[in-house]
Every structure is written in structure tokens, then in C-alpha cells.
């Protein structure tokens, strides 16, 4: 499918050697929203959770310490920038790399929490993400082998051969695993159950946006 029919009018291109970045209202909107959210995260303070205690009269506070706060804020800003990069990139392999980076950063954001169950689920999510890097990068490499290019602008003009369809299906499996949706959500759902809300929300938001962009990319490659 032509990217003009998917993303609206072509506003311009940024020629960077072999890979030409293209700007459409769709990509720019996603990019701007993610950057705005990243800015909000950089400025905001984290929430504090209060856990009610059974049979006693006191509540326990789950707080984020100052050292952990700095680390988490840094990682969530990087995560926001990486997902914004995945929104605007015109290169298939760069998209997969941004995606893997988002996966690593998602693990990093929760790496210092005190709850053992959250760490357990982060460990499991990390294993799934690592296993899914095989279909993700493999799919991109198969598309490269079948068409000879990674530029989305060129790929969208090509008819899909069976090898390209196979590569796209592999990529879809990889995207599902890396972003932790549908069949793999069980491990990622537990990762949110800790204090420090705006930083935790970027885990959710980045995978949401990346799925939207991945649908666009798969449509570009297949049709």
C-alpha cells in the first residue's frame, strides 16, 4: 500500500543516503504526541502507593526513593525518545532496533523496584522479549533478502512475494512478543503493579504506539 493513502499527504522527505525518511501527518502526529508525553514525564513527580494492611491499624507506603527516582526518570525519558524514533523512522531495521531498545528500557525501568513479584515478571518478560528477537530481526532480514532494500518508501512500491509475506508474518510474531501484547501479556501485566505511576505508564504507552506504527509498516510492506 502506498504510504500516502495510509498516512495522508506527504509533507516532505529527509534524504539520508540510502534510507529516505518521509514525513506524513500520521507519523508526525504520533511523534509529537510521544515527545509531549516524554516532556510531561520529565517534569512530573511520581505517585505514592498506599497499601492497606489487614488486621492492623496502619497503612504501608510504597514510595520511590530519590536515587531510584532519578534512574527511573532517565530510563523513561530515553524510552519515550526511542518510541518517538520508532514513530518517524523510514527504515525497517531501525524500527526493529528501536523496538528492541524499548523492550530493554521497559525492563530497566522496573529493575530497581523492591517488590519481588514485579522483578519476577520483568524477568519473564525479558526472556520472552529475547526469544522474540529471533522472529523480529529474522523477519526484517528475510524481507531484506527478498527485496534487497530496507527503505519503507521503496518497499511500499513493491509487490509482495511469498518470501516477503513469510518475513512479515515472522516480524508480526516478533512485534507481539517484544511489545508484550495478546498471547504474552501475562508477564507484562504484573510489571505495572508498583509505585511511580508516570514512569510506569511509559511502558504501556510505548508498546501501544509501537503496535499502531507496526500495523502501518506491515500494511506498507504487504500491500
Amino acid at each position: 500500500m502506498d504510504f500516502v493513502t495510509l498516512g495522508g499527504n506527504l509533507l516532505g522527505v529527509i534524504p539520508l543516503g540510502d534510507i529516505v525518511l518521509y514525513l506524513t501527518p500520521f507519523n508526525l502526529f504520533l511523534f509529537a504526541v510521544l515527545l509531549g508525553f516524554t516532556l510531561l514525564i520529565a517534569l512530573s513527580k511520581p505517585e505514592t502507593q498506599v497499601e492497606a494492611t489487614m488486621h492492623y491499624l496502619y497503612n504501608t507506603e510504597v514510595k520511590v526513593g530519590p536515587k531510584e527516582l532519578k534512574q527511573r526518570r532517565f530510563l523513561s525519558i530515553i524510552c519515550g525518545i526511542a518510541s518517538a524514533g520508532a514513530m518517524i523512522t523510514g527504515d525497517l531495521f531501525n524500527f526493529t532496533l528501536f523496538m528492541a531498545l524499548v523492550g530493554i528500557l521497559n525492563i530497566g525501568i522496573v529493575s530497581a523496584v523492591k517488590q519481588t513479584s514485579v522483578l519476577n515478571s520483568a524477568f519473564n518478560y525479558g526472556l520472552i522479549a529475547m526469544m522474540c528477537s529471533l522472529p523480529l530481526f529474522g523477519g526484517a532480514a528475510i524481507i531484506l533478502a527478498a527485496t534487497g532494500t530496507l527503505s519503507l518508501a521503496v518497499l511500499s512500491q513493491m509487490p509482495a512475494s511469498p518470501m516477503v509475506v513469510f518475513g512479515a508474518v515472522l516480524m508480526l510474531i516478533g512485534i507481539l512478543g517484544e511489545s508484550g501484547v495478546a498471547p504474552f501479556f501475562a508477564s507484562k501485566a504484573e510489571m505495572f503493579r508498583t509505585a511511580g505511576s508516570p514512569y510506569i505508564v511509559i511502558i504501556h504507552l510505548s508498546s501501544l504506539f509501537i503496535i499502531v506504527r507496526a500495523v502501518e509498516i506491515l500494511l506498507l510492506v504487504l500491500w
Binding site: F93, L97, A100, L101, G103, I104, I107, G108, S111, A112, K114, T116, L119, N120, A122, F123, G126, L127, A129, M130, M131, S133, L134, F137, G138, A140, A141, I142, L144, A145, A146, T147, G148, L150, M158, S161
Partner: protein
């Protein structure tokens, strides 16, 4: 559709599909192994095998563009392994924090009955051998050196453990891992920025690799001991 230069021999072109099949089969076997294994450290190592299969599939393309894809793929794979092992370390630290006596021996001891041998050699020899191994590993540099030095760290930890002393080296090893990562990147950067200092950058990268492999082997040894202890 696919443009192949005439200089590419037929043998290389016919290798593409077998390489992809090999990669997918290796990935499948690795995931089956992960499904069978229960110890976390084994799962972590087996997941690396899936990453290796990914390198198979990417490198099967065999062009210079694919070569440019292998390196980021490899780096991402390593970074993910690092991130997951850091998660494991943090979790073990939290568990030890909650129950400090967990790391001490419960029942499984090298000697079944109280065995109070106060010999000088028991104190000095393991330290000396560990130092020797680490020194030899530094002399070797690179991947082999890292393995030897890591063996020294494991020996040191095991000898302390066998005498019933608490082993708390986890934070230090995690720190060394990060520093060595930076050293490695610095070496690579210097290669591109100032190619005339190639020997220096080679040594920086080799030392980074040495520290990284050593810390990884040490980490595997320490975690394996905990897994054995649990049984």
C-alpha cells in the same frame, strides 16, 4: 526482483535457504529446551542460544548491509542478556535483604560433621590460586582471559562458601560489568575516531571484553550455587 551481482557464485546463493532453516531449527530446539528446563540461570543461558539463531538468520543474507545489521543485533542481544541478569541480581539481593540467613548453608556441607580445621593453607591457598587465575586471565586478555579470570572469581567464592563465610559479591560484579561495557564501547569508538591508535583501542576493547566475560562467568557461578543450594 532480486538483483544479484554476477560475481556472486552459485554456491553462496544456494546456501541462503539452508542457513535460514538452520537458524529456525536452532531457535526451535532452544525454545524446546527452555520449556523443559526449570532453573532460571539455565533458561537465561538457553535464551542466549535463541539470540544466536537470530544471528544465523540475519547473517544468512550475506551482503554488506546484512553485516551492518548483525552488529546492532548482537549488541541488542547482549544488552538484553545484561538487563535480564541485572534483574536476576536485583531480585536475589532483595530476597537476601528480606532473609539474610538464606545465603548461609542450611544442611548441605562439604563435610557432614563439624570439621574445625584451623590450617593456614585453607585461608591462603584459595585466595592465592584465585589471584593467580585472575592474573593469568588479565595476561591473556580477551575472551579466553575472561573465562580464566571468571574461573578464579568462582573459585574464590566457592572456597569462601565451603568455609561457611557469607559471600556477598553481587553488587561489585554488577558494577564491573557496567564499567567493562563502557570500556568496550570506548575501544570501538576510538577505532573509528582515531584509527592510528588502533593498538590502544584494541587493548581497551580486549580489557573490556575480559572484564565482561569474567564478571559474567563469576555471576553464573554465584547464581548456580544459589540454585544448587535451593535443592
Amino acid at each position: 526482483m532480486v538483483v544479484l551481482p554476477v560475481v556472486v557464485p552459485d554456491a553462496f546463493i544456494s546456501m541462503y535457504l539452508p542457513a535460514i532453516y538452520a537458524g529456525l531449527i536452532v531457535g526451535f530446539i532452544a525454545t524446546m529446551a527452555i520449556a523443559m528446563k526449570r532453573e532460571e540461570i539455565h533458561i537465561l543461558i538457553l535464551t542466549d542460544l535463541v539470540g544466536l539463531a537470530m544471528i544465523f538468520v540475519v547473517s544468512a543474507v550475506g551482503t554488506d548491509l546484512a553485516e551492518a545489521l548483525i552488529l546492532p543485533g548482537l549488541v541488542v542481544e547482549l544488552a538484553e542478556t545484561l538487563a535480564i541478569s541485572e534483574i536476576l541480581i536485583t531480585r536475589e539481593m532483595r530476597i537476601i535483604e528480606q532473609n539474610p540467613r538464606r545465603n548461609l548453608p542450611k544442611s548441605s556441607s562439604l563435610f557432614p560433621q563439624p570439621f574445625a580445621l584451623n590450617m593456614e593453607i585453607l585461608n591462603t591457598a584459595p585466595n592465592f590460586i584465585a589471584l593467580l587465575l585472575i592474573g593469568y586471565g588479565i595476561f591473556l586478555t580477551g575472551f579466553t582471559g575472561g573465562a580464566v579470570a571468571g574461573g578464579g572469581i568462582v573459585l574464590y567464592a566457592l572456597s569462601k562458601k565451603a568455609r561457611g563465610l557469607p559471600v556477598l559479591m553481587l553488587d561489585g560484579i554488577a558494577g564491573i560489568s557496567g564499567i567493562s561495557w563502557c570500556l568496550w564501547i570506548l575501544g570501538f569508538l576510538l577505532f573509528f575516531v582515531a584509527p592510528q591508535y588502533w593498538l590502544l583501542s584494541l587493548f581497551i576493547a580486549a580489557c573490556g571484553l575480559l572484564l565482561k566475560v569474567a564478571s559474567k562467568v563469576g555471576l553464573i557461578g554465584l547464581l548456580m550455587r544459589e540454585d544448587i543450594d535451593r535443592e
